[in-house]
Symmetry: C2
Subunit: 395 residues, 2 copies
Amino acid sequence: MSVTTPQGFRAAGVATGLKTGGALDVALVVNDGPDAGVAGVFTSNRVKAAPVLWSEQVVRGGVVRAVVLNSGGANACTGPAGFQDTHATAEHTAAALTTAAALTTAGADQVGAGEVAICSTGLIGERLPMDKLLPGVGTAVRELSRTGGAPAAEAIMTTDTRPKSTAVSGDGWTVGGMAKGAGMLAPAMATMLCVLTTDAVADWKTLDAALRAATRVTFDRLDSDGCMSTNDTVLLLASGASGIAPSQAELTTAVTAACHDLAQQLLADAEGATKQVAIEVVGAAGEDEAVEVGRAVARNNLVKTALFGNDPNWGRILAAVGTTAAEFEPDAVDVAVNGIWVCRSGAAAEDRSKVDLTGRDVTIRIDLHAGPVAATVWTNDLSHAYVHENSAYST
Amino acid sequence: MSVTTPQGFRAAGVATGLKTGGALDVALVVNDGPDAGVAGVFTSNRVKAAPVLWSEQVVRGGVVRAVVLNSGGANACTGPAGFQDTHATAEHTAAALTTAAALTTAGADQVGAGEVAICSTGLIGERLPMDKLLPGVGTAVRELSRTGGAPAAEAIMTTDTRPKSTAVSGDGWTVGGMAKGAGMLAPAMATMLCVLTTDAVADWKTLDAALRAATRVTFDRLDSDGCMSTNDTVLLLASGASGIAPSQAELTTAVTAACHDLAQQLLADAEGATKQVAIEVVGAAGEDEAVEVGRAVARNNLVKTALFGNDPNWGRILAAVGTTAAEFEPDAVDVAVNGIWVCRSGAAAEDRSKVDLTGRDVTIRIDLHAGPVAATVWTNDLSHAYVHENSAYST
């Protein structure tokens, strides 16, 4: 149930002092091959962290043999010096893997810096302490193992309260994965750090198509707090170690299932949240419109605070829908909260007191009556704990 | 300092039982002429309350002799029956004004329902108790006076903690005004209820140009919580009673000053806020881009919670700027918080510990280095009190 579940991958998670209290803070995932295929999606934020700029180049190169991930610092908004830090980390990792007796990567007796992707997460705007990070990478190389997926998933946590891992089985091949992310969770792209691994045999094009199809309907529809990160990265590494080449559809289905599982784990652990909310938009004229409506509701602070207060305030939902450009008639919209149609044809319908909001799971269903398309966006409520956690985070 | 400061206006505020505890909840503003000019701007939310749909028609008619405003219910998402309630309120008001001995409107021995604008504010989705509202209008007609501006401003309060009124003097003429609004404060239009009055002589075109120019740089740039209302209405009534016709520029300047004063009063009284934040975007390529950047920062919950925590977290500001389509280079952006340039060229600069955020007023200055244009957007922080107030509002 981790990045080391598929054959051909080793991982490690070590404590280097980037985080206080001896917590694990550097993860390393190595692809031992025989293939070293990769696909990636990155934040669409125009202010991109140094490791995002670096890893975008690496993924374009088409070969990734290792991924280094650190918590305890985002290395974003750090200027040219921050980019040099990322570059140095990749070079250091490549050298350590090349010299390590542990290196077993088939077909590669040395690893190049351009084959090492880097991911960072933590506070924006501060340089990473390289005197801790680089020795930590060396330790991680020495600790690489086929059971290292669990400590790796732990090492990438920031405000996460628990690690997130997954595995999905194909017919003789597997997809594994880990992710982190509890705040700055909003899409338009991947919304956190995520490394997926597979021992399937697949070329770049197949991997890329599978990853883009998967993130479009999972991470891209997770909008916990409307705040897009500078560091979001989702990588899919393929070792080919199973020797089996699934079809595009089979691979896409498995990668989507892995992303969905991880996305739901992120939703469940979002900062301060007391509710996990599925906003199901149906009857839309198109998918983009359904997602636009779902996202407008997901980002509405008055809807989110109402849910925190166990208040099925459908008027606020309708007011949020009304800010979109989606096709609908205001007097044709129906809204159900946890199965009770509190709004029909844009006005009050069933008694709102029938709505039970005491549980953690909430489903808001919005029928636009404008077409045949449906899409779901996931979000959380806005709680005192969210305000507390994010007003105290960097101090 | 109210809607009755200009000559030719009377007003009243009465308690009808729409709100509990004997609070004032119905306001009436009457234009006694000789003119009955009007301009209006309304919410751009596609889910519009019945009184907005009604008043848009009335304003298009070009003559408004009275405005009825109620708190205690928004009459939004109430279907055809809700629209009939608004229509009935206008008819009842017109009849009461026509029969009242108090009617002194020059040139009009009777008032038509189509000359009565209606504004409502309060909970969305519930019908107004007409058995209380209509008798209340009758009481308000009897209580109309030249000093009724103060109780009228009080009667339109919802979660406002204090009434908002203003007056701006021209050369022999005056602009007065009142407004309400403490939540669901976000533009793309007027963002609350506001009635402005003037005794200047001005035709429809001049009034409309003055009001649109004024709201564009005041209410439309106030984004307290990112949530657009279904009921936002700003009306400008002109009595012509001063006999003086100012120039377009003079009238626009005075109306803008009145709107700015009221907008700042709204900002100061926003639900649960502990900070009033001016986001000054400079060096933009265009005004729309400057406003887009300011609004992206204003709506970012992580920026808002950081401000609540007295944390000059410029990384979150840059991450918010990065979500926009405005012209800028990420490594060229400077950010100052309360005068300290904590970010230069997209990276850390002056020591963030120098920033003093203990006061209520905060100024964030963002220099995009992309052009000559500047614009300011105003917002509030996101506090525990905001969450509390909005999680408990309708229950």
